[in-house]
């Protein structure tokens, strides 16, 4: 138990290595070893989650028994447990889903894909677990480098799009690193807990203030927050469905996590609101991003591109919730990390199933698909309704908490933005629903499409889709349990301050 914090990324790193080697011998062995590592890690993270859920103390682990200021510390607290569980849950489902999808969309390259996917997971979980600011950067780059490889695996336009992502990602990572360096020179430590104790005295220092700005800006760039989103639509559109289904739900969220961690547990309360209005800036940027992403999503003809623009908007929800600087808004942001991971994961995976069965990716071509693939499209319907925010799906409750937070902060413009964005997402998702459930046999308005080839959706693909659809409902209905067991503890520093 006490080693869970460090075991999670370690097992994944080892699995990546073994999978690469095993893949050289036998392609199936490469997948099998990677899958074992992922499932093992899921078990570890769930064990830890249960411990924290039951009210257990955070687990701290000093790497190599070098105690913190000197050594690197790994911390499994409520926030880390929450994030890691989301990452591993979605990651495992995508892993089960991936083989059939990759065989179609990136044939012959699966051998490299498995270790890269595991590395992404290792980097992301490591970011959430480390208690060290520099180590966070290391994991951030591990995740990013592996993600570049994965996203480019589809070749062609995907590779070009990924190159743009690489450039902007390097800038974001560099900004963060500059901030860390400033902090290190000012405080003389890299450990988050120690830093939190030292910073209140230093918070007037220009270097520390600059560090805060650089770090948040860098992470906002990594998070693809408007206006640093421009790489995202191309990348998500051209990546294989399974890869998009892994990157879109969790990758950007972990950068959001890092901002939340800095805000809650590293910088002193009020640092981002009083001295420099960084949170206000984050909020306004997010608000514009929400509207921008939602409006552009309406105009898209390609399903994946629509989802990508929708993601730009949805990431803004998270930024907006953080910027409200009150517990309700923060809970809304954190819940939306979970809800959006499930919803977007679900929708991208559905897109992959449709592509596999029919070869279609354009929205007008989705006409009548519901009739042929009722289960897949039933799951899609749940995901779409959740994105619109219809109760009792998860999406309703993140919207609900964000509205509460905005009202509590008396941020009426942001309140209005959330309302407007719900309406906008209703437009593009109900348009999809209308298309999907049109039936050429009975509806005069439905045009005859090429018939959907007969066949069965593989269980390895429909299974994860179904589980995510159920998860979207359960996460909504169970939101109070999640809030009271985990998130109330996460936001405790705000309620006290």
């Amino acid at each position: 138990m006490s080693q869970i914090p460090v075991l999670i990324p370690t097992v994944l790193l080892l699995a990546a290595l073994i999978s690469l080697l095993a893949g050289l011998v036998n392609r199936r062995a490469g997948y099998a070893t990677a899958l074992i590592g992922v499932v093992l890690t899921l078990g570890l993270s769930l064990t830890g989650l249960v411990h924290i859920w039951m009210g257990g103390e955070p687990i701290r682990y000093a790497l190599g028994n070098w105690l913190p200021p000197i050594g690197i510390e790994f911390v499994f607290d409520a926030l880390a447990a929450y994030m890691v569980a989301i990452i591993m849950f979605v990651g495992t489902l995508v892993f089960i889903y991936a083989p059939r999808s990759l065989a179609l969309e990136a044939p012959g390259k699966e051998g490299l894909a498995w270790p890269a996917m595991v590395l992404v997971l290792a980097g992301l979980t490591g970011m959430c677990l480390t208690g060290d600011l520099f180590n966070l950067y290391v994991f951030l780059e591990i995740a990013a480098l592996a993600a570049y490889a994965l996203l480019a695996i589809g070749g062609g336009a995907g590779a070009v799009a990924t190159f743009r992502y690489l450039l902007i990602g390097a800038v974001g990572g560099g900004f963060y690193l500059i901030g860390v360096a400033f902090l290190y020179f000012s405080a003389g430590t890299l450990n988050m807990a120690e830093m939190a104790m030292l910073l209140p005295e230093l918070s007037q220092s220009r270097a520390v203030q600059a560090a805060g700005v650089f770090m948040v800006a860098g992470l906002a760039i990594k998070m693809a927050l408007f206006p640093f989103h421009f790489w995202l639509p191309d990348v998500y559109t051209h990546a294989p469905s399974a890869v998009a289904g892994l990157i879109a739900p969790v990758m950007t969220k972990v950068s959001a996590y890092a901002i939340i961690r800095l805000f809650l547990d590293v910088f002193p309360p009020g640092f981002f609101t009083e001295g420099i209005p960084l949170l206000a800036a984050l909020g306004w940027v997010s608000a514009v991003g929400i509207l921008y992403g939602s409006i552009l999503a309406i105009g898209q003809q390609d399903y994946r591109r629509m989802l990508a623009y929708s993601s730009v908007g949805q990431l803004g929800y998270i930024g907006l919730g953080v910027a409200m600087a009150n517990p309700l808004g923060m809970i809304g942001a954190l819940l939306h990390v979970l809800n959006h991971a499930f919803m977007k994961g679900l929708l991208f995976l559905v897109g992959g199933v449709v592509r596999l069965r029919t070869g279609r990716t354009r929205i007008p071509d989705f006409q009548g698909v519901g009739r042929k693939m009722p289960w897949t499209m039933g799951a899609f319907t749940i995901g779409a309704l959740a994105m619109v925010g219809i109760p009792p799906t998860a999406g309703f409750f993140s919207k609900w908490y964000l509205l509460l937070g905005a009202a509590d902060a008396q941020a009426w413009t942001w309140f209005a933005v959330i309302i407007a964005s719900s309406l906008l997402s209703a437009i593009y998702f109900f348009r999809m629903l209308e298309m999907v459930w049109r039936n050429p046999e009975t509806d005069a308005a439905a045009q005859e499409m090429a018939p959907v080839p007969e066949g069965q959706t593989p269980v390895s693909m429909i299974g994860p889709v179904a589980i995510l659809a159920v998860a979207v409902m359960v996460a909504g209905i169970m939101n109070v349990a999640i809030v009271s067991a985990l998130l109330d503890r996460v936001v405790a520093p705000m309620a006290g301050g």
């Binding site: 309700l328 219809i390 109760p391 719900s422 209703a426 109070v480």
Partner: protein, 513 residues
């Protein structure tokens, strides 16, 4: 003070038709008789469950069940009070009749996608009963949104380009209303202390007779909340200028127009106003802040305009739709007048209008299925061919106009008395004028049908008994409500109980029956 008794009946009453929907889908088109059986079982069971709670509600013991927390401090809670059971009884009883009618209608017109149709209708009824029994605002909006979404497939049932276009318009209205409502509720929650360190107190958003909202809130906040709710409920209740989706939604099959767009969905909006004025703001605060006057003004204008527009419509269902718009605002007006008798009339009108208007829609549907006539101008002499149907139509028409011995007279009488009590002569005039207009746009249809002759309609040839029998039953219901208002399901007593819980004044209009 009423007592609350723990009971699972409200939950079962909601779930039974959702389960019915699952059974309907699982059975499918191939075994349609079995599928239809599921509908009937669900409808009868639902009505039985609702009815079983009536005695205890009348005795002042309100069944209640708390399931889980929806949001910190806010439970998913169901509670059956007089207002809830009044609406639930009328909706669930009429669903049974509508089901039989729909079998006749859907088979008569050879509609496609019947499985989807009956399944979504069952889901809509689940959501409606959920709205009736919601104990607090958040539970309410949960079912309200489900109802909005579940109605959509029924609106686009025809599958034509026009149907999809109307479906989109319907969604724009319904989703806007839903998010406005959610926003309003979020504001109420924060006003009640959701953002404070202690969080919301238990039951802080529970509907409470006489209202629970603090009058200490700023005027701006009170008005913002009220406007949010006004949009949220006004769309479904068809208050002008938020009404225009409703006449268009008549493109749905007639059983949907009859049950959902004359009873369940639109009454959910009206019921929302009852919950808003009577149980959230409370009559005192609504009156003091001036919102009641605004609401009454909107409703009054709607009553007159809708009646006037109805006269211009040649399409029978469109005419009935505008008539619905007008009559829904009768109820809103009654609530907004705040006087005990006005609220009594409003509550009772929810029932009487349901009975009368569903009769009229049933008749319109029967005429369409049997003769393919949709327009008023085509109905010359049709009374000779379908005398029962047209007689029932006549009863509904005079009832809506407010002629004694039909239910509409009773509710309108109390509405008028309430307008006098409230000192609003203007609205009294509006009510009387609208009664005349009602007669002017409905009675000519009856006159035309019986006193003009047409070579087409010479011999007796009624629609299928599956349709005619429900028509006759709803017609008798409308008459019974007029001659013995408390005779069926104690609707009048329930209305009196609503008045007492909202205003604190006990009125025994029928001599304490």
């Amino acid at each position: 003070m009423p007592d609350f008794i723990q009971s699972w009946a409200p939950l079962l009453a909601i779930l039974v038709s959702a389960l019915g929907a699952v059974a309907i889908v699982a059975t499918g088109e191939k075994r349609r008789n079995l599928r239809e059986t599921w509908t009937i079982i669900a409808a009868v069971a639902k009505f039985g469950l609702v009815l079983s709670m009536l005695p205890s509600v009348l005795a002042g013991n309100y069944p209640e069940v708390k399931l889980m927390q929806l949001s910190p401090g806010i439970e998913l809670a169901l509670r059956v009070d007089p207002a809830g059971i009044l609406f639930a009884l009328s909706a669930s009883f009429l669903w049974i009749l509508t089901s039989f009618y729909a079998f006749g209608y859907m088979r008569g017109t050879n509609e496609k996608k019947q499985t989807r149709f009956f399944a979504m209708l069952a889901v809509c009824l689940s959501a409606t009963i959920g709205i009736c029994f919601s104990a607090n605002l958040l539970t309410f909006v949960l079912f309200y949104e489900i109802l909005s979404v579940a109605t959509y497939p029924l609106v686009i049932h025809a599958g034509s380009e026009k149907a999809y276009r109307i479906g989109r318009q319907y969604l724009v209205y319904a989703i806007t209303a839903g998010i406005a409502l959610v926003a309003g509720i979020a504001l109420v929650a924060v006003a009640q202390g959701a953002g404070s360190a202690e969080g919301l107190a238990a039951g802080a958003l529970d509907f409470t007779g006489g209202g629970f909202l603090s009058p200490d809130l700023s005027m701006g906040m009170l008005w913002t909340i009220f406007i949010c709710f006004f949009i949220g409920f006004g769309v479904k209740a068809g208050v002008m200028p938020l009404h225009s989706w409703l006449p268009n939604a008549m493109i749905a099959p007639t059983p949907v127009s009859a049950l959902l767009h004359a009873v369940a969905v639109v009454k959910a909006g009206v019921f929302g106003f009852v919950r808003l004025v009577g149980y959230t703001f409370g009559p005192d605060l609504t009156g003091a802040m001036g919102a009641a006057a605004m609401l009454a003004a909107f409703a009054g204008v709607t009553i007159l305009l809708a009646s006037a527009i109805a006269m211009t419509k040649d399409d029978l269902k469109a005419r009935l739709a505008y008539s619905t718009v007008g009559h829904l605002s009768y109820i809103v007006l009654g609530v907004a007048l705040l006087a005990p008798h006005a609220i009594l009339g409003a509550a009772f009108h929810m029932v009487t209008h349901a009975a009368m208007k569903i009769t009229l829609f049933f008749c319109a549907g029967a005429i369409y299925v049997h003769t393919h006539k949709k327009k008023v101008s085509q109905l010359d002499g049709i009374g000779r061919q379908m005398p029962l149907t047209l007689f029932a139509f006549g009863v509904g028409a005079v009832g809506l106009a407010g002629v004694p011995l039909v239910g509409g007279f009773v509710s309108k009488w109390y509405l008028a008395q309430g307008a006098i009590d409230a000192g609003s002569v203007v609205f009294l005039v509006f009510l009387l004028l609208s009664g005349l207009l009602n007669a002017a746009y409905l009675l000519p249809i009856v006159v035309r049908a019986f006193f003009r002759s047409s070579p087409e309609h010479t011999r007796f040839d009624e629609a299928s008994p599956l349709m005619v029998v429900p028509i006759v039953v709803t017609m008798l219901l409308a008459i019974l409500l007029g001659v013995w208002p408390d005779g069926i399901f104690r609707f009048f007593t329930l209305s009196e109980m609503i008045v007492e819980s909202v205003t604190g004044t006990a009125i025994t209009a029928l001599g304490g029956s």
